[in-house]
């Protein structure tokens, strides 16, 4: 399946801005703008500030205008979505990402069958919090993403909201590929989005051990995860002559059925193998891994152990480079899987693999992994594996292949 259009926004801005920050190893963490840090026991997050949001909206509007797209997408872009500009609805970013991706793909939902699958960790629970705690206005239909998507693409055939925790947009990509394979859509938008909620920040502060100021995936001194904000969308179509950003070879999805919050190495490994089988590849063919790498006590050793086992038969000289994005952009939850997919595609195009932002000394479990530390790695990966694991043991592992630019 071909990725024919894409768009994303993180705390650094669009994909180019995010990739630049990753290459520079720059953390986008900043003091929290919502909630009381003393009560939350969390001081930092990877939020999107107003200037970054404005710049992203302008870049999407330009992409839509350049594509000459007629109809809904062009008309609605730039119109604020939501109950008010003061409400941090992640649907606002989602709508922009969907519009940008459709414009880049040149896909018009009014003339072809376009389905949309949105993966999210926290849905619009921020809007529920503001309704409950701050008397903000709300309609129930705003707690999922049908209206946000249709505000820029009213002609789409169906909009699904999947609350699949931190693997959500990987799940969305898997179902998007299935819909195309079954011939039930001409193009599918897979997307993901999230915004910070006070309730999830409370939980992170409650179960975490410190007040981290940045995320350090796979580091011996990691202090736990911090949340990030943003949205990502890709348009998936059957391969054709149309230019593609990357090819999705296969997505494996599964569930540990083991624990509500702790990952299980067996389940994680099974989903990686399922992805390889669907993609028709052997472990030795993987050149790049974009790890889930959350910087939590449990995820990083579990993931490192599973990756070490997956690549056990690969000679050290052929071991894939391993990187991750959360040190630079935080844990963007629902959007994380797709953002990692886009970073993988960009790395394959640019011939440079960003280092793991925040990583200085790797944990012992990762000693056999070729983690990219400190400086970008000059390389031309052809096949990349992208990991995403969520609460509840939901796993999504994506295999993408490079397209020569």
């Amino acid at each position: 399946m071909a990725i024919t259009g894409s768009s994303m926004v993180s705390c650094h801005g669009d994909l180019d801005a995010t990739f630049d920050a990753l290459l520079a190893g720059r953390s986008g963490a900043s003091p929290l703008r919502a909630g009381d840090p003393a009560k939350l026991n969390v001081t930092h997050g990877y939020g999107i500030d107003d200037a970054t949001e404005r710049a992203y909206r302008a870049s999407v509007a330009e992409a839509v205008s350049a594509s000459g797209a007629a109809g809904g997408a062009a008309v609605a872009v730039g119109v604020p979505y939501g109950v008010g500009e003061d409400v941090r609805l992640s649907g606002r970013w989602l709508a922009q990402a969907v519009a940008g991706a459709l414009a880049e793909a040149g896909v018009d939902p009014d003339t072809s069958r376009v389905a949309v699958i949105v993966g999210t960790g926290l849905r619009e629970l921020r809007a529920v919090e503001q309704w409950h705690g701050d008397d903000a206005a709300l309609r129930l239909a705003q707690t999922h993403f049908n209206e946000a998507v249709r505000s820029v693409a009213p002609g789409v055939t169906e909009v699904h909201t999947l609350a699949n925790a931190c693997a959500a947009s990987g799940y969305a990509l898997a179902l998007a590929a299935d819909l195309l394979e079954l011939g039930e859509a001409d193009a599918v938008v897979a997307a993901g989005c999230d915004t910070l909620t006070e309730s999830m920040l409370t939980m992170i502060g409650r179960v975490g051990t410190t007040t981290a100021e940045t995320v350090r995936p796979f580091d011996t001194d990691r202090d736990g995860v911090l949340l990030g904000e943003g949205a990502a969308a890709v348009v998936l179509e059957l391969p054709s002559d149309k230019p593609a950003f990357g090819l999705v070879r296969g997505v494996g999805i599964g569930c540990d059925a083991f624990h509500e919050t702790a990952p299980d190495p067996g389940g994680v490994l099974a989903t990686m193998r399922e992805a390889h089988q669907r993609a028709g590849i052997e472990p030795g063919e993987v050149d790049l891994v974009v790890a889930h790498g959350t910087s939590t006590a449990l995820n990083d050793p579990t993931e490192a152990t599973a990756l070490t086992e997956l690549f056990a038969d690969v000679a050290p000289a052929d071991a894939p480079a391993v990187t991750g994005i959360k040190g630079a952009i935080g844990h963007t939850s629902g959007g994380a899987a797709l953002m990692s997919v886009l970073v993988a595609c960009q790395a394959m195009r640019k011939g440079t693999v960003p280092p793991v932002t925040g990583l200085r000394t790797a944990i012992p479990e990762a000693e056999k992994l070729a983690l990219v530390i400190g400086e970008p790695l000059a390389a031309r990966p052809r096949i990349a594996q992208i990991n995403a694991f969520g609460f509840g043991g939901v796993n999504a592992v994506t295999i993408v292949e490079a397209v020569d630019a």
């Binding site: 705690g133 239909a141 939980m203 043991g393």
Partner: protein, 302 residues
Amino acid sequence: MPETRTQDRAADQPLSVAGWATHVPGLTAADLPGSPVEPACGPDDAKDVLGRKGLLGKEPSTRLALCATHRALGLPPGKLTEPLPYAPGTAVVVASNLGNVETVSTVLDDMRSRGGNVVSPLDAPNASSNVIASSIAIRYGFTGPNLAVCSGATAGLDAVRLARVLLLAGRAERAVVVGVEPADPVARALAALRPGDPGELIAGAGCVLLGRPGAWPTDTGITVGPVTRHTSDPGPADGQPAVGELYGAAGVVHLAAAAARLAGGADDDAAGLTVRCGDADDAWLTVDVTRAGARREAGAAA
């Protein structure tokens, strides 16, 4: 791409409904087909169906969803005594919008008034909106794809639609599909924000076991077709019991009830029923449930 697989899994192929249960607290089979003979228990008495263990910290919607699943699987009351042979690789697809809104609101209130340290760590899993689907997977060992569908009033039949995609695409041979909503004060206040006059939200769950023919051990003769989307109100479905407003759970609860009704032979002339869900904001979905010509032994819903 595996074209042969796609060809044998044509989009309009009916899927087997191998089991079903409705679990709306207080209702019996006489009120809503698929319910127990005695009134279905409320979330606080979920131990009567599930046994005592493993319910600590579980929200009402998770408990009701587990009760419906347990009964649809035809399991005796109490904890599982041995692993389910057909659990590995089985998918779980849950429709629910309001399952954790009370937890989210309570955590917010407690943190703002007294600080985050007063919040129970037991609520950490509940802050994630997929907790119902993962709890079902963990209890019964379902390791297949695990989806939490939160698309509003159509969530129930959206879940059936996505389960169908998983099955036809070969990601699983069997899918446990559940719809559930709670009726706590926060959920009810949110449900009152819907357009028109939807009626007061009630708590309830439904479960159907879907699969490729022969994938489940039971052959009930009941099948379900593709889900159809309608942008205008398709009108009331024939005989859909008026039990109360179930919002995102409605599609699965009514599908389970329709399967039970067809299997129970209450409508000897009816070869099929149409199930619907939706509202003016989220549009409407319908699906046809059909009984095979020769009726076979009823499913696991007894």
